[in-house]
């Protein structure tokens, strides 16, 4: 079981008090992978009994190093992987994993992938990427209504004028523009929850802030619940209400964002914080390397 140091009861209670309905809850999620090497079979415990709740209008950051199980959690919440045990609950009710129930779930929970260069199909135009989810989740709409919604979505993610982007292909856009398209696609079904799996880690440092600000703004507009997965503590602190620190499949520390960053309890969190670059310690690493020589 995860070493819960700071229960998040007060943070979630606040959201309920505001009267914002809806929650996406991961309850005792476990994911084991069977690794087969010849006849030998071994188990990899990617995610070990994780529970947390994403409330509407709030952001939870999931922080951890590569291989700590962050992305596996994202894929389980997006129903791309089935958990070994445990379940995903939406508004307190268990979520479906096939048929109509899955369709309903998908119109509530959407995902933004890490790599905008890989998450858009190079064969299709931008309008195709946005049209499909609209058509799938709103089958009653006519052609003109779908087209106007596509343009509206592009404008919401600040790709203006929309007509300039509709017929383009992904390779004609920059990384930041592509990630905006990916965000628009996640918004298309009218989801209440967005899982953002390292949405800016593949982007240039200079354009990360723009994309993150856009996400925050959209969240504010539509009271979205966001699960922000990252390995970057600085952005996690800036953009989230609550931080969960993951290490080897376990949540080792959780609590309000500022609390976790300013007053880390777990050893691993402290190590993560130390590893993050800090302007105060400018040149410290250089001195360390020189001393080693």
């Amino acid at each position: 079981m995860s070493a819960t140091i700071m229960p998040s009861a007060d943070a979630t209670g606040e959201a309920r008090a505001q009267g914002q309905g809806g929650s996406l809850e991961a309850r005792n999620l476990v994911k084991d992978f069977r690794l087969r090497s010849g006849l030998k079979v071994s188990m990899l415990h990617a995610v070990k009994d994780i529970s947390f709740t994403v409330e509407a209008g709030r952001t939870i950051a999931l922080v951890g190093e590569s291989g700590s199980g962050k992305s596996t959690i994202a894929r389980m919440l997006a129903k791309l992987e089935a958990p070994s045990s445990g379940g995903v609950f939406i508004d307190g009710a268990p979520s479906g994993s096939r048929g109509r129930a899955l369709e309903r779930y998908r119109s509530e929970v959407q995902m933004v992938f890490q790599d905008p260069f890989a998450s858009l199909n190079p064969f299709h135009s931008i309008s195709h990427h946005l049209e499909r989810p609209i058509r799938l989740h709103h089958p009653g709409l006519g052609r003109a209504e779908v087209a106007s919604r596509v343009e509206e979505l592009l404008e919401r993610v600040q790709l203006e004028p929309a007509t300039r982007y509709l017929e383009r292909r992904p390779h004609e856009l920059s990384g930041g523009q592509r990630q905006r398209v990916a965000i628009a696609r996640a918004l298309a079904p009218g989801a209440r929850f967005i899982i953002a799996d390292e949405p800016v880690s593949m982007l240039d440092v200079s354009i990360r802030l723009g994309v993150l600000n856009l996400l925050a703004e959209l969240q504010r507009e539509a009271q979205l619940g966001v699960l922000y997965i990252t390995h970057d503590l600085a952005t996690a602190r800036h953009f989230s209400d609550e931080i969960l620190v993951m290490y080897r499949g376990d949540i080792v520390e959780r609590g309000p964002a500022d609390e976790v960053i300013l007053n880390p309890q777990h050893e691993y969190t402290m190590r993560l914080l130390e590893a993050a670059a800090d302007p105060e310690r400018h040149g410290a690493l250089r001195d360390e390397v020189r001393r080693a020589e």
Partner: protein, 356 residues
């Protein structure tokens, strides 16, 4: 924090958290620079999938068109290929442009009819092979798990069965063989190699994020395969289709030459078989066996050249490397090369090294 726009100081923090270099601590306005519209591309839509115009493609298409046109229009202008009233074994003359056979058939008429027959067998067999390789390759690659194991097992069995002997065995079972039967047999014995390639490629495409994204958006499996995966395999499929046609036409010619081909129609293979049994080589009747052999070689050459052009879409390196080598050679010749005019041999070696 998400409630407020970041101040300049916080912006600095976020960026510094990544890497501390003077270059990265630029303003957020840099994204504006990234928004610069990419050059208006003239190759969009389906045109982006078409091979670029090149000498190879032009020659290949020219050969293919000429042969297809001959096969389609030829029979209209020649006499009945089964009319044996002509004098036998005549060399080419204005009356019979390609001479006559031992039985008095007009070779040109036979050739026109044979072109049609061979092309039909090739296209039908190619389509059958294409369909089967799509089902076994793409489905196996996309499904994974038990579906993959089962489909791969069938593919692997078909892969290790030697094709031509199997075709011979099947052909000998049917005393009267229509060209359709021959095409069918050639088709179902030649798809396995393509299926293996398609399976590997599909497995790679399937794990791409855009396939996951389509699933998250709510697309169903058949549509994911047909709309998200298949279009990205089109150049590969086109190349495999052309290859399957070449293979089937050669296979048909081989079968017919052995006397196991279609019994109801004329193809390049049956003409060659007749020439063989009629001792064309011994009597020096070159006009009987050279034209069909030449057409087989030219069609194979044409389709292969088109295939090379398609390969360049799949692997742009094939296009860029020779181009660069050529440019380098030209520069060296004009004395603008890095190595200078004094070292022409050194430059050529580098150029070849790049293109290799």
């Amino acid at each position: 924090m998400s409630e407020t726009e970041l101040t300049e100081r916080e912006l600095h923090d976020v960026q510094v958290a990544e890497v501390i270099t003077p270059l990265t601590v630029a303003s957020a306005a840099v994204e504006g620079a990234g928004q610069r519209m990419p050059r208006q591309s003239s190759r969009r839509g389906i045109r982006a999938l078409m091979p670029r115009w090149s000498g190879k493609l032009a020659i290949g298409l020219g050969l293919l068109t000429a042969i297809v046109a001959f096969g389609v229009a030829g029979p209209w202008f020649t006499q009945d290929p089964r009319d044996s009233d002509n004098p036998s074994l005549q060399p080419p003359s204005p009356e019979h442009l390609l001479g006559t056979t031992k039985l008095g058939y007009d070779v040109l008429a036979q050739l026109a009819q044979g072109t049609q027959g061979s092309l039909m067998v090739g296209v039908i067999a190619g389509l059958i092979a294409l369909g089967l390789s799509i089902v076994f390759g793409i489905l196996a690659g996309y499904l994974g798990g038990w579906g993959d194991e089962t489909l791969s097992l069938v593919t692997n069995i078909m892969l290790v069965i030697p094709g031509l002997p199997l075709v011979m065995v099947i052909a000998t079972y049917f005393p009267a063989r229509s060209w359709l039967l021959v095409a069918f047999v050639l088709g179902i014995t030649s798809w396995a190699g393509s299926a293996v390639v398609l399976r590997a490629q599909t497995r790679s495409l399937r794990s791409r994020d855009y396939v996951s994204a389509a699933r998250v958006a709510g697309e169903r499996a058949p549509r994911v395969i047909l709309v998200e995966v298949l279009p990205n395999l089109l150049p590969l499929l086109a190349a495999q289709f052309l290859f399957a046609i070449i293979f089937a036409i050669l296979g048909e010619a081989g079968l017919s030459y052995l006397g196991l081909g279609a019994t109801d129609s004329i193809t390049w293979g049956t003409i060659l078989n007749d020439a063989q049994t009629g001792q064309a080589l011994g009597t020096g009747a070159w006009w009987w066996f050279v034209p069909p052999g030449l057409l087989i070689a030219l069609l194979g050459c044409g389709l292969a050249l088109i295939n090379f052009s398609i390969d360049e879409i799949i692997n742009p390196k094939l296009r860029i490397a020779p181009e660069n080598a050529r440019r380098q050679r030209k520069a060296a010749k004009a004395g603008r090369g890095i190595a200078g005019p004094g070292l022409p041999t050194a430059t050529t070696t580098t150029a070849e090294g790049i293109s290799a």
